[in-house]
């Protein structure tokens, strides 16, 4: 499942997509994120399953444009710690 966390407002679209088929719940992204945007919990969208998957915390979901800003310099290459720490490649950003 592709879970999109974030929002769209007048300034653009800001979504972090987590592919729960790929995510193995290893928690490396949780440790890599300097702003503590991610957490690993039971998959709430599939109540009958018991695997753990990563998601964006409720605290950050509606402000990820700002939470993720320190990792996104306006010039130079963008190397997102969450994306790089994810071995299966389950995390992507829309902006």
């Amino acid at each position: 499942m592709k879970a999109n966390y974030g929002y769209k407002d007048g300034s653009g679209e800001f979504y972090i997509t987590i592919d729960t088929e790929l995510c193995d719940g290893c928690t490396r992204c949780v440790e890599a994120c300097p702003e503590k945007v991610l957490e690993v919990v039971e998959n709430e969208l599939d109540p009958l399953a018991e695997e753990l998957v990563a998601r964006v915390t409720d605290e950050h979901r509606k402000k990820i444009k700002y939470s993720c800003a320190p990792c996104k310099p306006t010039t130079g290459p963008i190397n997102l710690p969450c994306v790089q720490s994810c071995e299966p490649g389950a995390i992507s950003h829309s902006w």
Binding site: M1, K2, N4, Y7, K8, Y15, E44, L45, P47, K62
Partner: protein, 292 residues
Amino acid sequence: MANSESKEYWRWTESRWTNPDLDWKNGEIISAGVDVGSVSTQSVVMVDGEIYCYANMRTGSDSPDSANKSMKWALDGTELPLDNIEYAVGTGYGRVNVPFAKRAITEIACHARGANFMYGPTIRTVLDMGGQDCKAIRCDHRGKVTAFLMNDKCAAGTGRGMEVFADLLQVHINEVGQMSLVDEEPEPVSSTCVVFAKSEAVALLRKGWSKDNVLAAYCGAMAHRVVTLLERLGVEDDFAITGGIAKNIGVVSRIEKELKVTAPEPSIDPQLAGAIGGALFGKALVEKASKK
């Protein structure tokens, strides 16, 4: 005069129903789903996966109280005691505040499951237009979520936005959709914000626009707003809409036109989808526990 001023144009019809063909005493698994939304609360009781009774009412300021009240109303006259419900699931915005629920499940999963029950296993895309948010969901033939996107940062494209407009134009909420079907489609108002859309509408009324045209402009804006949400996720046939706005022909027909799809007529009140999904999960969780 005072009388017409105090009329609540936004107030939609509350309802309850008991299935005359079912007897709960013959059922094996009695499960329930309670969807405490920001605007409305639904309780659905299912006997072996069939709807036995339901109630749909307005959410008050107190979530536990709304959950209790709607369940009490659903069970009214059925003689089914609350304790006989084996598994109750809470869902929606106030899902953690349902006192008698064994588990809280997110409304995204419940709406997909509910739409699967209501419209059949061919449904792949579900648009839930709720009271204060809007969710685009993709699901498989079992109603399991395969992708989702949610907009809950503002009230544009939601039921509450429509209530604001019903109140502004003094048109009853049930009639808004039909009234907005004008011959010539006007330019939509702002789709980013209900408050801005309302100020635009006030300006249009001052310019002499008719109520029909202002409603058409707002329904168009709302449809456009959710279509951009759906396009990001991708729309796969069959497509269905759940939530209160599914009853608004003005918005539904404009979404269908923009996306070039048709949404099936709901056979059950589309506001119930979340609670139906919750009750079905309740049944599945009872079955899962008994297998262990």
